[in-house]
């Protein structure tokens, strides 16, 4: 039991103190990027990993969040806190608008609808040049006083990421999470036991839209400039791959997936050249070899190294209690 308590504490402490032990600004930037991606992926994980809806188009929602933040904070000059809130709100609204028709569709139709959504968003961003700067793009302002340094921005992202992880953890552990997993594994069974399938799917989808909007605000602010080319479809595929590789129905797995997949091509130069080819290959290998994801693989390995003790308790009748119960029944 000691190990189980210690690991989150150590990881948490390491994450909080990261700005002091990161070797250079680039690594800190990478950590910020992982954090911003994770804010989106944590929400998307409920949609993809738990309820099994294969959304490949969340990059569209990320773009909407980033542009909303850039326009509200940069062009309109409102406070960044308002900008983040609006980005989240607009993300959730767009999630609702996308989810209402498309969540009724079966698997492949849904994936195609979200893919089309991502393409439509970049089309509209290009077309509405007066608002979004068209192909030239928009500068995105940073955050005010305590968060204006790279370290400060990192901590802000850490706070938001921690909050959203906590929210999704609460959703996943209890009734909702069980319901979503039931929807993923068998819609018919889920309906039969009284889970409101469409409402549950729509609710987590809107929530994922909110986190995608907030992630867009953070992401845009880290990049400090957004163009339509930032939000290519392959980025949406990347989010999706992180979850599938990390393991469906888990929270730790996708987080590790996000961190590793973001950092790996940046730190290993040959992989950066291969880029999305590498992600495709990784996805294919995972789907063919360990469809449950790497998180599940680690669990299996741990079980093999340190098997769970299965207690062998002999079942003996407690004669005294039985006698007492019978006596009480007679009286």
């Amino acid at each position: 039991m000691h190990m189980k308590r210690a690991v989150p504490v150590v990881v948490g402490a390491a994450l909080i103190t990261l700005p002091w032990w990161a070797r250079d600004m680039y690594q800190l930037h990478l950590a910020q990027l992982i954090g911003a991606y994770w804010v989106l992926i944590a929400g998307l994980n409920l949609v993809v990993g738990f309820s099994g809806q294969l959304s490949v188009g969340h990059v569209g929602l990320l773009a909407i969040g980033a542009y909303a933040f850039a326009i509200i904070t940069g062009t309109q000059g409102l406070h960044p806190a308002v900008g983040v809130a609006c980005a989240g709100g607009i993300g959730a609204l767009c999630g609702l608008l996308l989810g209402l028709p498309s969540l009724r569709l079966p698997g492949f139709y849904f994936a195609m609808a979200t893919l089309a959504f991502a393409l439509i968003v970049s089309e509209i961003i290009l077309a509405q040049g007066a608002l979004t700067g068209g192909g030239v793009g928009l500068p995105v302002p940073g955050f005010p006083a305590p968060f204006d340094t790279p370290q400060g921005t990192y901590w802000l992202i850490l706070i938001v990421g921690g909050l959203i992880t906590w929210l999704t953890w609460n959703v996943a552990r209890f009734m909702w999470g069980r319901g979503l997993i039931a929807i993923r594994d068998s819609v018919v069974t889920a309906e039969a036991v009284g889970i409101p399938v469409f409402r549950a799917k729509l609710t987590v989808f809107v929530f994922s839209g909110l986190t995608a909007g907030v992630a867009g605000a953070l992401f845009g602010s880290i990049q400090s400039y957004v163009t339509p080319d930032t939000f290519i479809f392959e980025l949406g595929l990347f989010f999706f791959v992180c979850i599938v590789i990390g393991g469906r129905g888990s929270i730790v797995g996708p987080f590790i997936g996000t961190a590793v997949l973001t950092a790996l091509p940046e730190l290993v130069a040959p992989l950066a050249k291969l880029g999305n080819f590498f992600y495709g290959l990784l996805l294919l290998v995972v789907v063919l070899v360990v469809p449950e994801g790497i998180g599940r693989l680690i669990e299996v390995l741990l079980e093999r190294i340190r098997p769970r003790k299965i207690g062998s308790t002999a079942i003996e009748p407690d004669l005294e209690r039985l006698a007492a119960a019978i006596r009480r029944g007679r009286a």
């Binding site: 028709p101 698997g107 089309a116 880029g275 996805l283 789907v287």
Partner: protein, 286 residues
């Protein structure tokens, strides 16, 4: 206006061809593969490569493109479909074909470059031919020929009948001694060859461009869903409707909202007639 209509019809023919490719794969495996558009992309890119870099005769280049498509179809079945279908999780084939499609697209981008490259003329013709330019009528003719050929294939040949049998009931087909794995591989080879042929024929319209695959996967799917899954007539009608609608919209509104309009068409059809114009409503046993 006329030129907009004709170019829309040509693009629509390419979408219809992609929808036919979907149909052939779907008939034996009940899988809608993300790699559909990428077979045509390979046909176009390799066609341009054979013709302009290697200076091969047109017929040889055509056969080469078709062969590349067929090989890719076979690889799709081998890598992304066979193992996944034997495990019966309904979402996994989407992931595996998506992964394969991404790999092919990126590999072509690394090798061929990310710029669209021109596709040589197939038939000597002046570039000022206008409406009767070969780049417009070639895809239409090929799509029609493919639909006709499929019809003859399904009605007249033994293998065609095996395809139909598998699409009706795969368990019954297996019980009657049909080697379902081999027939499915054959259907993927056939669909890949069709995709390669369509990509070759439409090469002058689309250019040899690595990112064509994903758009074609999406637009072919829209054509398929509008026309009705499993119906070849529906694929032709859906493709033509989609192509003409989006080119008319481009003519009147401008090119910025092309994708939005085609998805709007899809949503409208799914709302009014979820099984598509020519599809059959299937009742799912529970």
């Amino acid at each position: 206006m006329l030129i907009a209509l004709v170019s829309g019809l040509a693009a629509g023919a390419l979408y219809a061809a992609a929808a036919l490719v979907y149909n052939v794969m779907f008939s034996t495996s009940k899988v809608l593969s993300v790699t559909t558009g990428h077979t045509s992309m390979l046909g176009g890119v390799f066609g341009a490569w054979f013709l302009s870099t290697w200076n091969l005769p047109i017929l040889v280049a055509l056969l080469g493109s078709v062969l590349i498509g067929a090989v890719f179809g076979f690889v799709t079945d081998l890598v992304a479909i066979r193992r996944v279908l034997s495990r019966t999780d309904e979402h996994l084939w989407l992931l595996s074909t998506l992964a394969l499609a991404t790999m092919v697209q990126q590999a072509v981008a690394l090798w061929w470059g990310t710029e669209p490259k021109p596709f040589p003329r197939l038939i000597p013709q002046s570039f000022s031919a206008g409406v009767v330019d070969q780049k417009y009528w070639l895809p239409v003719v090929v799509a029609l020929l493919m639909a006709l050929g499929l019809d003859v294939f399904y009605r007249r040949t033994l293998y065609g009948k095996l395809f139909v049998a598998m699409s009706e009931d795969i368990f019954a087909a297996r019980a009657r001694g049909i080697p379902t794995d081999r027939i499915r591989a054959l259907s993927y080879v056939l669909s890949g060859a069709m995709g390669g042929l369509a990509g070759f024929a439409a090469g002058q319209l689309t250019f040899a461009y690595f990112a064509l695959g994903l758009t074609l996967t999406l637009n072919g799917f829209i054509a398929l869903a509008v026309g009705g899954l499993g119906s070849n007539v529906g694929a032709l009608v859906g493709g033509a409707a989609l192509g003409i609608l989006s080119s008319i919209a481009t003519y009147y509104v401008g090119g910025e909202y092309q994708q939005t309009i085609s998805v709007g068409l899809l949503m409208l059809v799914l709302l009014l007639k979820p099984e598509g114009l020519f599809g059959s409503r299937n009742v799912r046993p529970v």
